[in-house]
Symmetry: C2
Subunit: 232 residues, 2 copies
Amino acid sequence: MKNLVLASSGSVHGSEYLEYLIPTIDKLYKDIEEILFIPYAQPSGISYDDYTDAVQEALNTLGIEVKGIHEYKNAKEAIKNAKGIFVGGGNTFLLVSKLYEFGLWEVLKEAIEQGTPYLGTSAGTNITGLTMNTTNDMPIVLPPSFRTLGIVPFNFNAHFIPADVNSTHKGETRETRIKEFQSLISIPVIGIKEGSWLRVKGEDVFLRGGEPAFWFENKEAKLIEANTNLKT
Amino acid sequence: MKNLVLASSGSVHGSEYLEYLIPTIDKLYKDIEEILFIPYAQPSGISYDDYTDAVQEALNTLGIEVKGIHEYKNAKEAIKNAKGIFVGGGNTFLLVSKLYEFGLWEVLKEAIEQGTPYLGTSAGTNITGLTMNTTNDMPIVLPPSFRTLGIVPFNFNAHFIPADVNSTHKGETRETRIKEFQSLISIPVIGIKEGSWLRVKGEDVFLRGGEPAFWFENKEAKLIEANTNLKT
């Protein structure tokens, strides 16, 4: 049974990295003593070691050991054998490029579908959608494809912020960008705010975190109330 | 002699499309009665015809006729024969993909280097840099390459906004994103605010519009005062 927590962001304003998610992570990784961390998204160009250390520090309170995938000789085996997986945020283009470079999509999808508990934040959430076309990240590298895991039958826009009606800025709003995408490809998109996450258990997909999300489909945007089940 | 106006945006708050640039466009297209417009970036998924009409309306005051490149059977010939060229904003991924699809990079570069007056706004400005890696746009399509015209020896970040120090949002700032890019490739990047543009005349590259810009190189960001010549 699929068992995922797909968070908009790793942090929220005013608290430490992953702090707001600790009770949720505790339940996701119940009885798991060691997880596999995939640091490829490298926020701010941080090293894999430093990123893994930051995650270890955040999860110390749960007594969970964090091992970076770069510490293994065989990354595929590491994913296959993982008791729990965490893919952290950063740059989605970088993360997706590395997963293609190392050929890890299939083994990652299999592990998730067989029930390995999976935590994603930001870029790590984006890659569970059908494609990465609706990321906010800067295209710092060119991946061979934008196709991603397709664990859920839609795309994500993480760190979602509704348009500020008082803004004087002329750059596109998130909604405009998402509609530009959907004028080309009719994939639904969920915009989830920082502090919100999706809790996937088998076919159930609950919106958690207490805030509404935004659902874009057929050129319309609608509000989804917290705790809605997105199961179709 | 190269002769370009490379604007951060087509509009600024509180005025009509292209209005703030009209005196500058008037000088750029001096004595030109008809220009070629390239609408491939399709802001908000607008049609090529509608986009071309909007540009025509904006340039009516200058008595300039605007013809969309999609109205020609042979796009390469249209670029070669153009007296002036305008590439409008929208989605940089879409614009770059179409220029690859139609094989127009070389002929466009040649025209610009031979002195055809060129106006770019937003995406149309981005493509005159070395690569499109530092666009803010959403990756709604996958181009075969991020390499662009290289008319100037740096990259652009259009619609630049400095970080808001009071923000509670945890998504990356522009500066963080640009530094993530430069941790991979050492191409300098200019962040130009809405209402600013670069005036390229031969080897001279003046910052116009009255506002400072931001220059990112060697992991440092520095302010460039208005009217600075970026010629190196």
